[in-house]
């Protein structure tokens, strides 16, 4: 990640600390797949796949079926290989997804806010 602030000077001590904190959080993200597994918790409410919904209510709503595959995400469910049964591998995919997603989010937000704030001067 770039180490410059909006004014072009070196990152402050606080910003550096936040960056390390965020990297630490990325490494810990597999907690987000392990805890639900350990406590036998399923999908978030309202976020079931068409197949799971069919198991729950006995049919797939027609509109839901039409829209549910409208988009093929490049890294679906934060995993490069959803059929890989290894929890360790899935944890690795999850961390990599977290780093990719967080970096993209960081850079795009930085770009957008630089464009917005610069124009305001």
């Amino acid at each position: 990640m770039p180490s410059e602030t909006g004014k072009g000077c070196i990152m402050t001590k606080l910003q550096r600390k936040i960056l390390y904190f965020l990297l630490g959080l990325c490494v810990l993200t597999p907690i987000g797949i392990l805890l639900p597994m350990v406590f036998d918790a399923g999908d978030a409410w309202g976020e079931w796949s068409a197949t799971t919904l069919n198991d729950l209510i006995g049919y797939v709503p027609a509109g839901l079926e039409k829209y549910s595959n409208i988009w093929n995400a490049p890294i679906p469910d934060y995993s490069m290989n959803n059929s890989d049964p290894s929890v360790v591998h899935q944890s690795g995919y999850y961390i990599v997804s977290g780093v990719i997603g967080a970096t993209l989010t960081y850079l795009i937000t930085l770009l957008i806010s630089k464009l917005i704030v610069k124009n305001g001067d």
Binding site: T5, Q15, G42, G46, E47, G98, K114, V117
Partner: protein
Amino acid sequence: MHIPDGYLSPQTYLPLMGVFVAVTAVAIKKVKLDVSARYIPYLGMAAAFSFIIMMFNLPIPGGTSGHAVGSAVIALLFGPWAAVVAVSVALIIQALVFGDGGITAIGANCFNMAIFMPFAAYYLFKLFSVNPMKKTRVFIAAFISGYFSLVLTAILTAVEFGIQPLIASDAEGKALYCPYDLSVAIPVMAIEHLVLFGIVEGLITALIVRYFLKSDPGLIFALRNRKGMHHD
């Protein structure tokens, strides 16, 4: 709380997409006026934080899972309009790259988590921080802000889910989109966020605000405004 594709009817997701676009246009103007250049790197980090914190799925044992959003702390630290921009970016990346939240539901999800939630959090904090100079008071107000803003956002999301059977059913009475009505969606979403996810959002909000209060109190938007310090 990321509504997938197919759960909302076009009658629901199209208006919410419109509201999202309109509010984002206002947010860009507000950020231009209110946000100083020294906030820029923090905004990028705030957006990244929101992205990462949403990956920490927490279980209701034997039930569903859910997570904190991070919108509350971003709204308190950098202002609700900046939070609109930061959290929207995180949500759009989640939808486009990771399929978390639907493409058609981007407007709805951003409306809930990136617009409603930061404003709810900001005004809840204002309401409860009577004396912002006392650290415990700030901590408690920040917790309340995070806790209730997430619970209210969950209820808003539940309303969007729950009105679908009223809007669109086929001739046999089968739902076309989300099949659960308000009487199911609201209690489930409210309770799971009241008992677990809201507490996590509240703690994250309070702990991070406390950290900033120690390290760089002048940065905290929600406290700066109260003292009328608009010097930068």
